[in-house]
């Protein structure tokens, strides 16, 4: 299969990666200043996977996002103003301030299914794929989650159902070696989650989560497979989260050397270098992209700060259709 690695794709991913990185950094800064209520689950260090996922999907395709992957939302085209307002709990947020950071959705972009219960989004993704099948418009679903979710019964029921029904869905598991405070060795006996695919009769593959190109290539193959009606796949991306499970988590359960090793494999720096080498970007371009990102972020935060919280009447609406 020929992979489309056009300049457009490479640049899209680069811009989104820079934007995602700076956004994560900004959120951490704001949180530490006490300006965000609720919590933040930082995706710092894992942004490379998300930008590739988003880039591999069409606008009409569905994304069931991994809660830590704001980069996948950005790459899918979410409005950063509305995303930020939602994180701040304001009524101009994409969920009218009701969801906060944990249940981001934008049905207009096909972003559906995230919620506060890890693993429950996976069967919902299967439902989206079922609908896509009925519809016959060749939409696919990228159903994303972390390694912890694969211990849920819902993961196994869903992937089995999708497999036996041959649904147009790509399961993407970002394995960052930790589920909350537990190392993966407590979660499962196996070391490679992608091998679970065989148990369900679907293809599975592992890629370097810090390499957007690698992820993109794997995604494109899986997406095309699904779109052609050849059924689901499971992609495992190997990566690491640089921060704790949530902001404020001191991460005492992780050895420091482990983090240091992974920090050396910074997806942004690596990708930036690859693009520089391939003459896709230069220093000037880098500055331009950084500046752009900074602007977008500043506008989004300004928008969020200035937006009002929902009123008591507003917060009580929409329980029933």
């Amino acid at each position: 299969m020929k992979i489309d690695l056009s300049r457009k794709v490479l640049m899209n991913m680069y811009r989104n990666l820079v934007l995602s990185r700076r956004y994560e950094e900004k959120l951490i800064e704001l949180f530490s200043q006490g300006k965000i209520s609720g919590w933040i689950h930082s995706g710092l260090g894992q942004e490379g996977t998300g930008v590739a996922i988003g880039e591999s999907l069409n606008k009409e395709d569905y994304l069931v996002p991994y809660f830590r992957s704001r980069s996948s939302l950005i790459a899918k085209g979410i409005n950063l103003n509305e995303l930020t307002a939602e994180i701040f709990g304001k009524n101009t947020g994409c969920c009218k301030g009701r969801s906060g950071e944990g249940h981001i959705a934008e049905p207009g972009l096909g972003i559906i299914g995230a919620g506060g219960v890890i693993g429950s989004s996976i069967p919902i993704g299967v439902g989206l794929a079922y609908a896509a099948n009925l519809e016959g418009e060749k939409r696919v679903v990228a159903c994303c989650f972390g390694d912890g979710a694969t211990s849920r019964g819902s993961f196994h029921e869903a992937i089995n159902m999708a497999a036996v029904m041959n649904l147009p869905i790509v399961f993407v598991c970002e394995n960052n070696l930790y589920a909350e405070f537990s190392n993966i060795t407590i979660q499962m006996k196996i070391k490679d989650i992608f091998k679970r695919a065989e148990a369900y009769g679907i293809p599975g593959v592992a890629v370097d989560g810090c390499d957007p190109i690698a992820v993109y290539e794997a995604m494109i193959e899986a997406v095309e497979r699904a779109r052609k009606g050849k059924g689901p796949s499971l992609i495992e991306t190997k990566s690491y989260r640089w921060r704790g499970h949530f902001e404020g988590d001191p991460c005492e359960y992780r050895p420091k050397e482990e983090l240091d090793n992974w920090l050396k494999r910074d997806s942004l720096i690596f990708y930036q270098n690859s693009l520089k080498k391939a003459n896709v970007i230069d220093t000037k371009k880098i500055s331009e992209v950084e500046r752009e990102a900074k602007n977008i972020i500043e506008k989004a935060i300004q928008f969020a700060f200035e937006s009002p919280f929902p009123s008591l009447e507003e917060i009580m609406e929409d329980v029933y259709a």
Partner: protein, 323 residues
Amino acid sequence: MKSLNFRWAINEALKEEMERNERVFVAGEDVGKPGGPFALTKGLYEKFGEWRVKDTPLSEEAIIGLAVGAAAAGYRPVVEIMFMDFITIAMEQICNQAAKLRYLYGGKVSLPLVIRTLFGTGLRAGGHHSQSLESWFVHIPGLKVVMPSTPYDAKGLLKSAIRDDNPVIFLEHKDLLRIKGNVPEEEFTIPLGVADVKRSGDDLTVVATGKLVHAALEAAEELAKGDIDLEVIDPRTLSPLDKDTILNSVKKTSRLVIVHEGTKPCGIGAEISAIVAEEALDFLDAPVKRLTFPFMPIPFGPLEDKLVPGKNEIIEAVKEILT
């Protein structure tokens, strides 16, 4: 009017709604080719094909998740949970996802799904195949809960449930499947949230659900010989509850007996009693009485019959109140 069996009333409702709207589809265990474990979906697979009448693996959680996702994508799934006892496996998807995602997503999606399930005693099949868990779902905002007692109610309410844009738990009493009743030939629906006064009377109000509506009507007939005139109310929809019909009845008769399967604590009888105490206390001439299954698991076999409240228990309760 035609005489129709409860089972066929369900079947017809499904068929008509699937004809009316191509976005309606059915899924569940054994619903497709086998025609359903209780033959409720018989003939649909042949008529509408594999993808609109889908046989699923034994995965209650994923079945409901599938309904949620498909509903979010604009379809109208009608999924079946074979026995209500198994619905517990899917509580996460029903109560956290189906009930709440519309609200959490700022009203940007609606989830027009129906979960049909067989509940209640009658098969004498024991504690994992006979429960009545309706009050669990009445407690969750975002869900609607419907429980018909006649073929007429079953057909009309199922059609409305499918057309409703909210997640609806549609409860089919397994002991009612064979009963017959009159059903209009022409197209009709019954609105959700409206109770039915199955029998008018002045002396005492009986609110009954599911198959116990019929026990209440039998009790009423027998008591009428002794000049006691019961009013029998079938709520039909448990959430949202038509409390006005119940309150008006209690204000008229000043006495209330509630009879339901399921246990007493936090049952639908507890909810109705509380509403009456809150809003019609001055009209009560006697304490409210609830008749329910005892607080215990349901045993296997014919002993079940002795434990489910029936006509005789209702008559005894009424006589006790009226002396």
